[in-house]
Symmetry: C2
Amino acid sequence: MAPSNEPLVIFTPSGRRGRFAPGTTVLDAGRALGVDIDSVCGGRGICGRCQVRQGVGSFAKHGIESRPEHLSPEGEVEADYRRRAGLAADRRLGCTAALLGDVVIDVPPESQVHRQVVRKGIDVRPFAIDPVVRLHYVEVARPELASPSGDLARVHEALATEWGLANIETNLHVVRALQPALEAGDYRVTVAVHDGRAVSAIWAGLHDRAYGVAIDVGSTTIAGHLARLDNGAVLASDGVMNPQIRFGEDLMSRVSYAMLHEGGAGEMTRAVRGALAKLVAGLATKAGVPAREILELTVVGNPIMHHLVLGIDPTPLGTAPFALATDRAVRTTAAELGIRAHPGARVYVLPCIAGHVGADTAGVILAETPHRDASGVRLVVDVGTNAEIVLGNRDRLLAASSPTGPAFEGAQISGGQRAAPGAIERVRIDRRTLEPRIRVIGCEAWSDERGFAEQVAAIGITGICGSGIVEAIAELFLAGVITPDGIIDGMLAARTPRIVADDRVFAYVVHDGAPLLVITQNDVRAIQLAKAALYAGARLLMDRLAVDAVDEIRLAGAFGSQIDPLHAMVLGLIPDCDLEHVGSAGNAAGTGALIALLSAAARTEIEAVVRTVEKIETAVEPRFQEHFVEALAFPHRTAEFTNLGRVVDLPARRSGAGRDPDPRAAQRRRRAALAAAREDR
Amino acid sequence: MAPSNEPLVIFTPSGRRGRFAPGTTVLDAGRALGVDIDSVCGGRGICGRCQVRQGVGSFAKHGIESRPEHLSPEGEVEADYRRRAGLAADRRLGCTAALLGDVVIDVPPESQVHRQVVRKGIDVRPFAIDPVVRLHYVEVARPELASPSGDLARVHEALATEWGLANIETNLHVVRALQPALEAGDYRVTVAVHDGRAVSAIWAGLHDRAYGVAIDVGSTTIAGHLARLDNGAVLASDGVMNPQIRFGEDLMSRVSYAMLHEGGAGEMTRAVRGALAKLVAGLATKAGVPAREILELTVVGNPIMHHLVLGIDPTPLGTAPFALATDRAVRTTAAELGIRAHPGARVYVLPCIAGHVGADTAGVILAETPHRDASGVRLVVDVGTNAEIVLGNRDRLLAASSPTGPAFEGAQISGGQRAAPGAIERVRIDRRTLEPRIRVIGCEAWSDERGFAEQVAAIGITGICGSGIVEAIAELFLAGVITPDGIIDGMLAARTPRIVADDRVFAYVVHDGAPLLVITQNDVRAIQLAKAALYAGARLLMDRLAVDAVDEIRLAGAFGSQIDPLHAMVLGLIPDCDLEHVGSAGNAAGTGALIALLSAAARTEIEAVVRTVEKIETAVEPRFQEHFVEALAFPHRTAEFTNLGRVVDLPARRSGAGRDPDPRAAQRRRRAALAAAREDR
């Protein structure tokens, strides 16, 4: 035990406490106690990261008096920092304030290395930063003729002495940049240490900013966030189109392109890497950060995007047994992927789970953490051209991917378009008059509200995006215009001019302008195929987990997080669930990439979790086909949708115009439709 | 203890022995006993690397009878190998021959992994191969829908199960090549594992050859060997000019180029890398090996070449304290250096020792192993544009570099040229008539032998190479034409027309033809400066080690290994030593690179040894200047050269034509010459 006449320091919020010799700095005392206090400069009063606040007064609970004079007065270094960089009145630098008597010291969140990050605007669980890249300021011994060691060896010595970092390797890029940095910084440099093992960058003098980019490579869109690696602040978010679209809209047509064209995989790799490079450059510009300050990148994507980004031919993913080249996390460099960033920038690609369940699903799991749920059954669905579906909890987690096709994203729909200004995104249909009310992206008002006409005149109505289509069809179903079997009821043409004949079937006019926007029978069929695939995948996992209902549903992805849970359930995209427990997860895959960017612990976690996930291959599960066929119809008033029935007035099952009196014939027809749809893709 | 009724196997030459259950294969028994038996295919009877020989008969010493029937008879696999690949009558495959009774088994050298390599034609100590790259044939489990692990994970599983290799990382290049190889090889592949840690290559089926290239980057010449990594066989050796010569003949002028020209270091890096690429491509062609089968490269070079090859600006090496960017071994890739080889090919650059003592010296130490000498003092000198000097033994090893300049390589000498056909390489001068006898590269006969005129007519006499100049000057000195102070004695012009007036000094005509080849007074001065630098360096190390004489001298380098030790000593390039203990070490730096290519243990060894070497910086040692000035004269009949005096008739010190009666004036003159020479460089 230390003698009791030594000052006692109590840190909050950690509660750690200990006695130290008078004159010990708060930073040193904190470190000795394992208190999480940040520092880049290693206690030289330069970086200002170790700011603390003294709790002044009597702390009866701890039996101590924390008086102002119990900390050493501000010295020259601290005063200099206060003048130069500013320091709040109640703040001290932990590296200069020394213990003279008993004190209570509060370490504010921004002075902690492993601070919690809460992403505003996205409903994601808070997580703790665990930096993969850490910056260390060191004062390097100068070279001497008498002991002619290399400059690098002396940098390593300084890292060992000042930061306890041993067995460090150093990138050749850094060796190249070493001597100019030492000269410019007068042997004071900041180095970036990656994963506690490798020096990946060096700067002259103090350098206290490092940036990273998290990228979600979707089949259609590539989205990225640029963030500060030290505090997780997202400085820019952006998206670019995936230029691979010219090789095929959906995944399987891209695999076909690779199969059928010599060098086709290479072409697609070049295309997607070009887009990544462009995205990163754009993010840097947007954030006002030089691209060469980007030190770390993470990537998620479905298995085919994953393979193509890494330059791996995805052909084996096109046929059973859908073998991934690797299902482990891949570590590579930005240079290898042709991305302009810091020359030592590294890339971490999250692990894939199975041939059709990729690193994007790993990202979704990391963002949504169903593997930590102690009880209940959570369903997470990331809806895109493929839907990634995760079901379960801490005890058991299942995952699958369903080929929904591009209909949900507005593609292959008559008036469909991507979500952009001018697109109809919301639709309500009056149950009585069958007249629509709409809302258009870029316009605040509904079509029956004041100002709509003026606002919309400026942008024009150009099409219907995914959420608009889903709402339109759901509303038409609720209004009885579409039967549970998905037939637009032509008999209603008598009641409203909105229903028009279209070849031998009917269509509903959503927007009677130029262009004329209608929901056709084919559009309904496309949505039926997409939603049936999604539902069947979820159902398959529920079968496997032997549950009939789920306790919570999270909808993720650009489209998934846009759609109204009610309408999603009315159409039967998702199983029945208490609507209050259905929510949006935003772009969970991208959020997962961001978490992996900011936390080494998260990488370890997801690498372990994906190994335990049970993978279901929908393409070869006979029950998937059955569920799919069953799910083609829209939900009607049955026991299956009790939650939904409580919220909306579901139509009763009835014999409509297009209703097939023979259910087995209906099944045959649906199977044929499915086969045709599959061949199209 | 195993029950004594189990068969006893005794392996030779290791002497290891043990009892095993009947039916155990010889390979398995050997491995269990730690006997060094090679195998690529892991005991499948495919690669034929584990061939052994049964010692048949009674082994009274061991108390066993090793009868033919004590090994299982040849089975189908072995018979198939014998038919397919051939197998000597007394050889068995260790993986198929099983123990049925007591046996003595001999493991021939070619079946050992760590076999000893003796380099023919080069006087280098034998060393044991310790492969850095090992090939492993594995049968990989096929992907299954039911357990959708990645192909890579299953390769890792196979490596763990079949070869005990755990925690293996895999290059992204290999991940890319993985699935095509698995498909082509029907899930049987061979992988190259680098350093027991990383898969760096993959091939379909059995692949039992891997190649490497060892490169010595000299200021003037870049030399390389292409060798098999499994048995060390050198398949091709070649050299190319260092194209950096256009930026300056010697090292300091190249550093000046980097200092004075923006981007100059980059230009020189591109030039030298281009030459490396060319050299490697040429070696591959010469050896008939595809360049993409080259998996490993090693590089040695002086510090400035080392830095320029790695793309590091060598400017700091131009001025005190001559700080190296790094003095540690550098590991990088062939791709990084722009060398076309296997995409996973790695490069190991040996460690530098000090600012003027480079990775080439590390190579010399590795080849010559003075650090293992138990007693005696060995001097190893690698003579080039700079001379690397190593002195000592196991207890203490010193190293320095001396700026000899290019005179020894025939540059800056009136009739000088590089060693090539047509160059005079040997010179003898009749002590009485002062007439020369010469030998010319490309011509077997001496000039006074039959056939010389005809042979030499075909090639022509074009110049004098380094060894010719050294011999000519040494012979002129021994003949009394040159005084110990280095003056060509004009008074002898009366005795022979070979001595001619040249401006105000004299010259000696070596070859009275076209071109006229003479040794001028300036040539003598250039050699004096060069040899004094070399000698002073050696002398400095001897001072530091507190020895007056050395027990053995090894001359290395293109020039060093060419010159006659006698003439080297007559000129005083090297200190006095028993001539029988002066020998050639060939291109020791290159040999060191080759050893590092073939042995992981050698890498560990040299990395440890260079840390213990004491570095002497000649440029700032005042005693170097003193030794240099003292060493400008040629050795004469004094106590200092007792060994030499026993072999040749050294001239007595005398007052020659150019002799300065005032020794202090002579010293001043020499200092001025030295200063002028230093400035020239």
